[in-house]
Point group: C2
Chain length 309, copies 2
């Protein structure tokens, strides 16, 4: 199974309103709720691709219960979330139906106690033994040490388990130094890490800082991968318009599934770009349409070259 | 005990953000949750005044559980909410800390089935037997017949139980025709019912339509009561600034508590205005400060006269 770690899980709530006008009252015309946090989004896409997934992280309170209830109805995902006293945060996306734009309200995460963190580490060390790969995704909730991902990367690598890290800021900086197999920053996160706004140069710098492979997501332009085997750019067949929510998480799922299936890098990148593009095009935020995905698999272009061995 | 009916209960969520900017992402700095819907607000004030209160209505889903958990920790309120399959709505108030203004997002209520409604009626008929007064408050959720309040008024009156109705639109129009003891519309609701924007004339018209007593809330100007015993206006000592959320519900609690204590009308109105003004002045929306309330009791002015017997 593939293990996904989401330390800052969320119940993602989407509200539709006719038009958002600050300081007035609105009737919400549609409410949807689903388990959120980047690692849970990755888990959902992996499960849709037919992989067995175990999801760990933290869940607590009424929102944590709702999240776990919904996970229980998600085929292919095993719930290994650690119960905490704190209350799992909600993220509320208010979609203005007159423009299609969303306004995001993100609750702070629950305070994770030293006991919660220690319970998580015990579970993580057990799960790592039976996993084929692990994804460490998203921000850290209050109370989790800033070096958390560095520690989780080291634990995975000690077990010989491939580990992908998708976070930002100081947790990314420290995590990279622990030598993860793959990091997947976007252009801003990569620039923050390295100080360079030139993606190729920045990706090379991130490799020097410890990441074995850097896959940078460049928005509508697709992915840039700098690996020990070579460098590639993978791009969708055309610029697409839609909702980019979850597109990065779909790309992570594509990379991980390609990794455990031992696909060559160009095929992994093709899959990741096809999944993220299909997610942007889907009518529901964070979902992807299978037929669109399969069509895109034939249309993604990969350029670049393998490094001479 | 006093019975309060809240057919459209809510979990009231308040978010504080630094400044609300549509179509951007916000970190919520503070989250509070409490049981809501007008009847539950009335119940909370009655309990604070030392009355035994039973609260009925509907609750369901994860939000319904949160609401019931919080009620269980509210001394003086007995939970007689009917469980439903549907999910209790949330209302989200997003307070912009740069201006103090709130943006309101109200989820639709759950669909109430004919079985839910029938279970409610059975419980209501039982509770009415041991109540000293009943308040019917707020809007109707989808699925509840528009004549619901008329029916609940008739059931109460058949048992000789004093009944106060606080709603709007067609449910108010039909409820008034069933001859409730008191209706407490605001100026807009009264104008919608009667077609008259002149409060005294409109209140007299509402009495002709069936209400025994009309207590109109006129915002900062206080209350106007037109009763079989006389007419009075009750006003706070000065115009106050603050958050009017829950002020009308505090007034209802004042009127009801005065009714069961057999206070004369001027004393009931004094209490209602002091409570609603203390609610506007309180730092937390919908709460009231007891000392402010007691000071205001000495300062509210009541003018008017009793009708010759």
């Amino acid at each position: 199974m593939i293990l996904t770690v989401t330390l800052n899980t969320a119940l993602d709530v989407t509200y539709h309103v006719r038009a958002l006008r600050p300081h007035t009252s609105h009737r919400v015309t549609e409410v949807t709720e689903r388990p959120g946090g980047k690692g849970l989004n990755v888990a959902r896409v992996l499960a849709a691709l037919g992989h067995e997934v175990t999801a760990t992280g933290f869940a607590g309170g009424a929102t944590g219960r709702s999240l776990k209830d919904q996970l229980a109805h998600s085929p292919g995902i095993v719930d290994a979330l650690i119960p905490v006293e704190g209350v799992t945060r909600r993220t509320v996306a208010v979609v203005d139906d007159s423009t299609g734009d969303a306004t995001q309200l993100n609750e702070p995460g629950p305070e994770i106690t030293p006991e919660d963190w220690s319970a998580f580490l015990t579970t993580y060390e057990e799960l790592v033994r039976s996993a084929s790969a692990v994804a460490l995704c998203g921000s850290l909730p209050p109370g989790v040490p800033v070096g958390a991902y560095a520690r989780l990367v080291r634990t995975a690598r000690t077990s010989g388990l491939p580990v992908l890290l998708d976070t930002s800021g100081e947790p990314l900086r420290r995590g990279v130094a622990a030598r993860p197999d793959i990091v997947k920053p976007n252009a801003d996160e990569l620039a923050e890490l390295t100080g360079s706004h030139e993606p190729l140069r920045a990706a090379q710098d991130a490799r020097r800082r410890g990441a074995h492979t850097v896959v940078a997501s460049l928005g509508a332009e697709g992915l840039l991968a700098v690996t020990a085997q070579g460098r590639w750019r993978a791009a969708p067949p055309r610029r697409v318009r839609g909702n980019p929510t979850g597109a990065g998480d779909a790309a992570v799922a594509g990379l991980l599934s390609g990794l455990v299936e031992h696909l060559p890098w160009p095929d992994r990148l093709t899959r990741a770009v096809a999944l993220s593009t299909a997610t942007v095009l889907a009518p529901v935020a964070g979902e992807f349409d299978r037929r669109t995905y399969e069509e895109l698999l034939e249309q993604v272009t990969v350029t670049g070259e393998a490094t001479a061995a």
